[in-house]
Each structure stands twice: as structure tokens, then as C-alpha cells.
Symmetry: D3
Subunit: 227 residues, 6 copies
Amino acid sequence: MVKKEKVMALEAGPDADLDPEMRAYFAKCLEKLGFVPNVFKAYAFDNAKLRAFVAMADDLMLGDSGLSKLEREMIAVAVSSVNHCHYCLTAHGAAVRQRAKDPELGELIAQNYRAADLPPRQASMLAFAVKLTEAPDKIEEEDRERLRRAGFSDRDIWDIAAVAAFYNMSNRMAAAVDMRPNREYHYMVRERTGDEARTPTPDRRTSPPSAPLSRGSAARRRRSRIE
Amino acid sequence: MVKKEKVMALEAGPDADLDPEMRAYFAKCLEKLGFVPNVFKAYAFDNAKLRAFVAMADDLMLGDSGLSKLEREMIAVAVSSVNHCHYCLTAHGAAVRQRAKDPELGELIAQNYRAADLPPRQASMLAFAVKLTEAPDKIEEEDRERLRRAGFSDRDIWDIAAVAAFYNMSNRMAAAVDMRPNREYHYMVRERTGDEARTPTPDRRTSPPSAPLSRGSAARRRRSRIE
Amino acid sequence: MVKKEKVMALEAGPDADLDPEMRAYFAKCLEKLGFVPNVFKAYAFDNAKLRAFVAMADDLMLGDSGLSKLEREMIAVAVSSVNHCHYCLTAHGAAVRQRAKDPELGELIAQNYRAADLPPRQASMLAFAVKLTEAPDKIEEEDRERLRRAGFSDRDIWDIAAVAAFYNMSNRMAAAVDMRPNREYHYMVRERTGDEARTPTPDRRTSPPSAPLSRGSAARRRRSRIE
Amino acid sequence: MVKKEKVMALEAGPDADLDPEMRAYFAKCLEKLGFVPNVFKAYAFDNAKLRAFVAMADDLMLGDSGLSKLEREMIAVAVSSVNHCHYCLTAHGAAVRQRAKDPELGELIAQNYRAADLPPRQASMLAFAVKLTEAPDKIEEEDRERLRRAGFSDRDIWDIAAVAAFYNMSNRMAAAVDMRPNREYHYMVRERTGDEARTPTPDRRTSPPSAPLSRGSAARRRRSRIE
Amino acid sequence: MVKKEKVMALEAGPDADLDPEMRAYFAKCLEKLGFVPNVFKAYAFDNAKLRAFVAMADDLMLGDSGLSKLEREMIAVAVSSVNHCHYCLTAHGAAVRQRAKDPELGELIAQNYRAADLPPRQASMLAFAVKLTEAPDKIEEEDRERLRRAGFSDRDIWDIAAVAAFYNMSNRMAAAVDMRPNREYHYMVRERTGDEARTPTPDRRTSPPSAPLSRGSAARRRRSRIE
Amino acid sequence: MVKKEKVMALEAGPDADLDPEMRAYFAKCLEKLGFVPNVFKAYAFDNAKLRAFVAMADDLMLGDSGLSKLEREMIAVAVSSVNHCHYCLTAHGAAVRQRAKDPELGELIAQNYRAADLPPRQASMLAFAVKLTEAPDKIEEEDRERLRRAGFSDRDIWDIAAVAAFYNMSNRMAAAVDMRPNREYHYMVRERTGDEARTPTPDRRTSPPSAPLSRGSAARRRRSRIE
């Protein structure tokens, strides 16, 4: 693999001889995204480390879950905002924009999810993820209860926790080695979406019905896309 | 003025009868930007408050200074990143993208300026601005000395401090009233800039010469634009 | 203007040729206070900066508002206490002592407003100002609602926010340039006020009626002065 | 003992039958200060607790030490500033004013010792006390070495630590029970001291000679009093 | 006294000529514990300081109180956990293990009391102690009210505060001088206690009855020992 | 699998039908440790999640690395100390005791690594891990340089970062679901080791030679075991 730009500050060694599964994984990235995310290139000096990272990331973000894929990306971005992680905010900010088909939502969560006027389900989900990030030692049963009251099952709570915990790892890995995101992420899903003729793009999961919002049309549109 | 979307969470009252100077200012915003920034609409319930805010902001960001306009916008964004200010990150992130003609630099500073591989001059400038934001009570003469060693005059230090302090005010004002940025900002200067045929776009001020960078071409391009 | 003592650590340049309005402002300070506050002298190297600062400070602290002038000074001091700002605690601590005609109240707020046994209106006002100072990114609608429940209008909330935000700017400016308060402030309104024969000194605004206090006579006296 | 004002928020019980030594101690307070400090009244519900507190406080603040009594009061106030302790800032702020014969120094340390332009000896002493207050778990040998380089013996370092640690206890005790200082403290040593005809008032200990200061005459006067 | 291992990083001086009472105290330590705790050896360079420290520690931890001796040790350990104090976690962790006859409880509190599934009385007691440690300036009447609702008298609240405050002093003293615990503490009460044939070992005080717990048998056993 | 005690606060579902590899893994745990660590039981509701977690943990803690296995456990414990993680401090504290054959070292790191008088190599390693835990956004090239100066290769730095990052994930997972460690951990390697007749137990890697220590014999013994 020719690396045109350094993907991190460490010289951890040349790329390993990747096994067929990992080679296929890289090929699929190229095909679907047009590039291999730099985080995978950074891990590629060691096949076992790459496999373990890919397996965990893919299970968490793409596997079966009571959380929609968009919701999981929102957690990734909210956690990365607290940790000011350049790599993850860039890559997963793009993922939120893409999954929500909403160029503004990615930035809202990256900046401060409290400004995003989210439905109660997502607001409580992100409040838990942020508390777990900032003060894990202060989590108590009441925090889990709050998620249950917002409609999450115990299995959902595991998933919220697992995604938030995973990005607390990834953020620190990226910071420790100065990981640099592929430049392509900056330019994905930046075009303004039409405001009227939008076909609703329901995610797999819907959140419980919630009261109508008082904000303007942008927030209402955003909301209808998340819910 | 017809407000199609609410600009903040407070009902501070109807727009005041703006004086001719403020009306001209709004007209100029419309002409140059295509919209009146919502922060000005938020202050418009009171002509005196609007005038005072506009006067201070314009003097700081556009007035005579040893800091380039891009550098002042970089300070605004770095401070707003610490404070997680949705409004200012959106509006001034766009301004950094625009002044640097670099869609990536705005996000870098908004996420974590330490990842931006900045020349020493700008890195020390932002380090001071961030310390002043996080722990103003811990600023000591040594902090000013560090700026002097990085080539800043005492008057420059005043300006760094004044811009950083101003956005500590604005961030809090925006948070307190839940100020909402114009949606247009999200879409400004998002197109990828060509990597080769770029005419250097020198800002008014140049930073002192610095050692060549080891990062890839993107950082080098960025650097040449800032310097 | 002969400066007998340095007013800050920076040599920002000689005093500008002040315009007639600013010269008149300085003259009025001398007449009313006996001295020109050093913060104005610090800004005097640039007429435009001085004008902008004076305009904003005067509008906030002396302009029309649902908050009494004493309440605005209390916010200035509570914010400056969090930020440990020597200049503002000295100057605005004196202002609280003077406006409250209570030498103890200025110190109470400067030390820790929670020890001041304030009426609910002022306690909630300062709690908001302190949260806005310490964690602006965590302000949510519930914080504004709490102020509304304490009797504040939306316009009042703007003013609480604007004063708290302004001193977050001023505190940082003072810290950044090591601004030094006029020595006179230390000695203003220090004499113990008589405990019985006090004529109540109602401020323009009164707070809503509140339950009788259990503390001793000093707190009761203080309370009657604030309310 | 007739309590005209409550000295704290707890009803810990009636005053104990104080032993002759404690009664004599209270009498001496009355004679020397004109009042019994409320902290002693608060402990007076239990003779053993009062004795233990008095013994420790008196040994630390008045006993034999390489630190002057003024320096020990400065530590008490700098620690209490970090902890925003109303009681201790009031009582020991008065003590600094009194021992330094300088009404301004007490406030400077109570607000932010970094603004006080202190000689290196006292600045390093307070830097250690503040770090010990804010982050005791981060103290390392280098912190002790810095004190040794500033001229302190190991025994002096013990005393700096012991005074700083003691006020971390007292501040918390005062906060926990809402201890209220005697009103008299507010009014002690507030008159402006003459600026020229001052007879130097050397404390028992002198600090090592230090370079001349660049600040104005007030700081020079202050400095000559501390050293 | 022959010191085989240094008890701290400072050379504060040789042991003082201890008075008969302190010599008897050391002898009693040797008889009961098999060693003199290093904290006492550290203070032994000065008889008055040693006496004052012993008097206060013994009154707080062994004197008459509405808190059981185990509860007081739990407070010591919870506070020391926040401050990451090696000496106190070692010495008082052993004391919790010993008084509770539960090798696991000492570690639970040393690590994070929130994981210990404590009865409401002890949980609220430690929550207060931890808040008083982390943010003494934020204690308000509501914090005391919460303790009253959990069944504590005002005198009990004094004792909770006094023990928590004392260890905020001791933790800092230990950190400042790098105090090193006697190695024996590490090995005290480490053997697993039988799970069935335990005779309940009621402490002097019992906590109010509380709802049955849902956790497994270990927590139930622990609970019955604390209550 | 019969669960006699709940391993966490969530009911994430019954154990999955584990694949042969995971069944073999559990059997090996039972054989080597006498129990299956509860963290694995907690993940056992989902075979894919369990596999991914086991793969990553085993690669990091047992795979090829320039860090010794003891050093990796020390990082796990130092990170868990910052995060106050009951599960990881218990399980990995036992692992440090076991790998170091030193019952005291595990507690030292769990309480505060700065008190452990470690050789420079391990001290700088843990300082990096702790900074990465507390302030990942503040990591800069200078932090990596410090590790290089302490003798670590870039590949070693990756491993330090990866272990520290992984426990920032695990700590949060354990906190989020209230994971409870197997009771057996508390009792492992608690017996005091002989002080003289110890055969040095060199770990695979040795740290660079370092200056002789001034502390007593316990620290010297500990040091010789780590190095």
C-alpha cells in the first residue's frame, strides 16, 4: 500500500502481511468509500491488532442493536466532542451527516449536542454517554434508570455504554498517536438538502412519539429524520 | 424584519427602531453575506446594546492589528471549541474556512487546534487564548513572555487577549440565550480546494519563518496559507 | 495624563488623543470618584477600543434594566470570584459595598455568594451567573426556566446573562494584561454601618416577598437592604 | 455564653462546661481581640474537640517556625481563596492585613496571590500551598525541590504543608456547618496606611534578598513589609 | 527510636524528647498493633505537634459519636480515595477491613464507594464527605438536609464533617511529605472470611432498617455487617 | 452456566450459545484461575461481542510487545485508579501483585503510582497513560518525545497508548453496567513475601539502568523486581 500522507506521528513499522480477510476488508472500504480509513491503515502494521479493532468496531456500529446506526454515530460524535478528538469528529461527523442525510446535524453534535434540540430519547442517550465520558466513577443506578424511563431496554443500555466506551478508547488512541483523518471526510455530505421535497428516510428504529417542538422548521425537519 | 426562524430561546421583545447607522449595517450584511447574522438580530431588541456589540466586535475583528484577520478568527474558534459554543463554532468556523480559503482548517481549529500542526506563532497564540479561557486566574508574566518570544509585541498580546476575552463573552451569551446560527454558515466554503494550482493567498501579516514541516502535503499547503 | 503607577503589565503604547466625549468621560470619573478607573486608562491607548468598552460597560451596568444596579454589581462580583480576578473583585466589590451601603455584602459575594443567605431571587440569579461562568456548554432550557420561576422575565434573563458574560470577558482581559486596580477602591465604604437607626435604602427594583430568615440580625439587615 | 447571633447552621448542642484552660483561652481572646472568634464558639459544645482544635491551630500559627507569622497567615488565606471559604477569608484576611500592616495585601491574597507581585520566596510558598490544595495527588519530589531552591529547609516545608493542610480542614469544616465569622473582622485594619513615613516593620524572619521590582511604589512598599 | 525505613521524604529533624504521655502512647501502639504507625513517627520530631495531632485524631476516630467507628473509617477511606492518598488508603483501608471483619469492604471504599451497594445511611454519609472533599464551596443547606432526612442528627453531621475535613488535612500532609505507611498494613485482615457460619458483628450503632437488596449474597453479608 | 451472583446491574439477556473457541476459552480460565472472570460472563450474552473483547484484551495484555506483561498490568491499574473503577482495580490489582510477586506494588499503583518510587522508565510510562486518561485532547508531540527519551520505541508508545486507551474503555463499560469482580481476586497474592531470600524474577523486558534509590529496602526490592 502506497501511503501518500502519513497517517500518524508514530513509525510503528511497515504494513504487515495482511490476511485474506483483512485484505478483503480494505478492498471493500475502497469500493464503498473510495478510500481506506486512516485508522485502519494505522493499525495495519499488525494483522492481529487490525482484526481485533475491526471486529469490535464493526460489531458495535453495524451489528444488531436496538439503537439505530445513526444513533450509534451520534454517540461516537458526542463522546469525541468532549474529548476534542480531531480524527473521530471528522470521520464520524461525516457519518452522522450521511446517515441523517442532514449536513447540519453532524456539526451540531460535534459542537454541543445540547444545542441540537433532540427528541427526549436521543437527548437522554447522549447525556448518559457524556456523563460516562466525563465522570465514569459517578455513574449510579439512577443513571441507568433514567435511560429505562426514556424507553431503553437493558440491552439497549449495554449498547449505549459499549459505543460510548469504545470511542473513549478510540479518541485516546487517535490523540496518543496523532492520527490524521482522510481528507475526503471533510467534503462528504456538505450540500444543503432541499427543505420541502424530502422523502422521509426512516432509520430502522423509531423513537417514541414526543411532543411537537417549538423551534423553527429546520429543527422540525431534523427531528423527523432522527425519529 | 420578518423572522422566519427563532434566533434564540428568549422573548426579549420586538426589534427596536434601529437608528440609521444600524439599519445601514444590516443592509451591508445582507449585501455582503446574503443574510444578517442572527447574533445581530438577537441584539436588535435594543439599539444601544446592538451598537455597543457591533462596535466592539468590528473593532476587534476588522480593526487595525498586528494579528491578521485570519488569526483573529482562529482565536475566536479555538476559544469557542473549549466552550463548545454552537453559534460561534458555526459562524466563525465558516470565517476561518473563508479567510484561509481552506475548508479543513476551520474544522481543525474547531475540533482541537493542537491537531492542526500550526506554525509556532499561531500555536503559541492559541495556547495563550486557550489558557486564558480555561484558567484565567493562572495567567502569569511567564505566559506573556512566551508570546513575546514567539515574536508578538505587547500591543499584539493585547489583541490576542482582547479577542479571546471577547469570545468568552460571546460564547456565554450564545449559551445563555440558546442563540442559533444562520443555516447558511454550514454551507460556506465547503468545496475542496485544488491542491496544485493554488495561488498563494497571503494574509496581511506574515509569521516569522519557521522550520520545514514533516507532515504531508495538506499540512504544508495549509501552512503556506496561514503564514 | 501622568501615570504614577503602571496600570498593567503591557506597554501597549502611549495614550491616544482621546476624542471630546472620552475626555469628558474621564473628567466625570475624576469628579465623581476622585480618580479615573485604571481599566479605562488601560484602554486609553486606542480611542475606538476605549469607546467600545465604555459604551458596553455603561449600558450594562447603568442602563435601563429589570435588574437593580446593585444586582448587576453582585453578578459582576460573583463571576469575578469564580475567576479570581483581582481587578474586578476590588473595583466591583467596592461598588457592591457602596450600592448596598453594606461593607460586608461586598466581601460575602467576593468570597462565596452561597454564604450570603440571599433571598431566592438573588440566589437563583447568581447561581445562573456562576454556572454560565463555569460551564457555559451545560446551560439548558431548564436553567432559564428556573430563573423564570424565580420571577425573572425573559428580558431580565438577557440582562443577567449579558452582565455575567461581560465580566467573563473583563476578568480575562484583566488577567491577561495584569490590570491593577486603583488603590482607592480598597478603602471605599469600609466603615461599619449603624445597626438600628438605618433608613431603608430601597434599590429601584424589589424582589418578590420571601419567607422570614432564621439567621441573626446582620443577615436580616442585609436582606432588607437588597430586597 | 450568650450567643446573640448563630455561629453556624447546626444545632450541635449547648456549650460544654469548659475546663479552666479553655475558659482562660476565651477570656484572653476577649481581652486581646474584643471578641471570641466564632470558630471557637462553634467547637465549644465539646471541650475535648475545642482543646484539640485550639492546640493544633495555635501551634501551627503561633508556634516556633522558620515561617513568619505573616507568611503563615498568607498561606491560610491563599488556601481559603481556592476553597472560597467565607469564614477563613474573613478572619485570616483580617490577620494578614494586621500582621502586614497593609490593608491591601489581605485582599490581594484572598483574591489571587498571583496578582500580588510577591518576592520569589513567598510566591513559591503559595504556589506549593495552592497545588497541595487543588491536586494533592500530583505532588512530587520536584515540588519539594522547588521549595528548597527557594531557600526553605525541610522543616520549613513541613510547616508550609502543615498550615496549608490545616486550612484545607478548616475550610471544609466551615463550609460543612456554614460557620459565620464575627462581624468585627470585616472592619479591622481598613484605614489606608501612610505611604512615606513608614517605619519598616520587620517580621521575625526575613526572606532571601531578591531582585528589585519593576512595579510602582505600592508594590515596593508591600514588598518591603513582607521581606 | 531506630528507624529502619524512612517514613517520609523530609528530614524534619531528629525525634524530639517525647513527654511521658506520648511515650506511653507509642508503647500502647506497639503493644496493640505491633508497630508505631509511621504518621506518628513523622510527627515525632516535635512533641507539641505530635500531641496535637494524636489528640485530634483520637477524639475524632475513637471518641463518643453517633457514628460507629467503622463508619468513621469508611469516611476516612472515601475521602482518601478522592485524594488518591497512598498512606491513608493503606492504613485506613486496613482499619475498615478490620472493623468490618470484611476484607472486601476496605477495597470497595478505597476504589469507589458507589460500587459498594451500601445502605442509604452510609451512602448519603459518604456522598456528603466526597462532595465536601471535591467542592467544599458548593455545600449548601440542602446538603445538610439530605443527611437529616437519612436519619442523622446535627451532632452526627458535625462528626461526618469533622472526619471528612480531618482526612482532607491528613491526605495533604501525607502527600506533601511523601509519608510511607508501615508495610504491615498491607497484610492485615486479608484472609477470606467464612460465608455462612458468621456471627453477626454488630457495631455500636445501627443504621435505620432498609429495603432488602437485590445483589448476591456477598453484598447481603456485607450489608448485615455494616448495619 | 450457573450464575450464583449477578455479575452486573443489567439484564442483557441469557448467555448465548458460545462457539467452541469461546467455550474452550472459558474452560481454560477455569483451569488456570479457578473461575471465569466476570467481565467475560458479562459479555457472554452475545458470542460476537465476547469474541471481539477477548481478542483485543488478549492481544494487548499477552501478545508480543516491548512492554513486559507486568508493565501492561501497571498501566491498566494506573488508568483504573484515575477512573476509580472497582472491577478493574480489583482484577488487575491482583494481576500486578501476581506478576510482580509483590503484594504491595498492586496497591501502590491502584492508590497513586506517584508514591511508588518507580524507575524512570515506568514512571514516564504511567505519566503518559494518566495524561492520556485525564486530558487526551492535550497530548502533544512533546509527550511522545518524553517517552522516546525514556527509551521507548515508537512501537512501544503504540502499546502504552493502546493499553491505556483500552482500559479507558473497560473502566467505562464496568461503570456503566456496574460490573462486579469475582471475589477471588481480593484474596490472591496477599501473603507477605520474604525480604531476603528472593530469587530475582526478571520479566521479559528490562528497563534501562537507573540511578540507585535513596528509599528503604522495600522500595529497593520492588525496584529490582520491576526492572
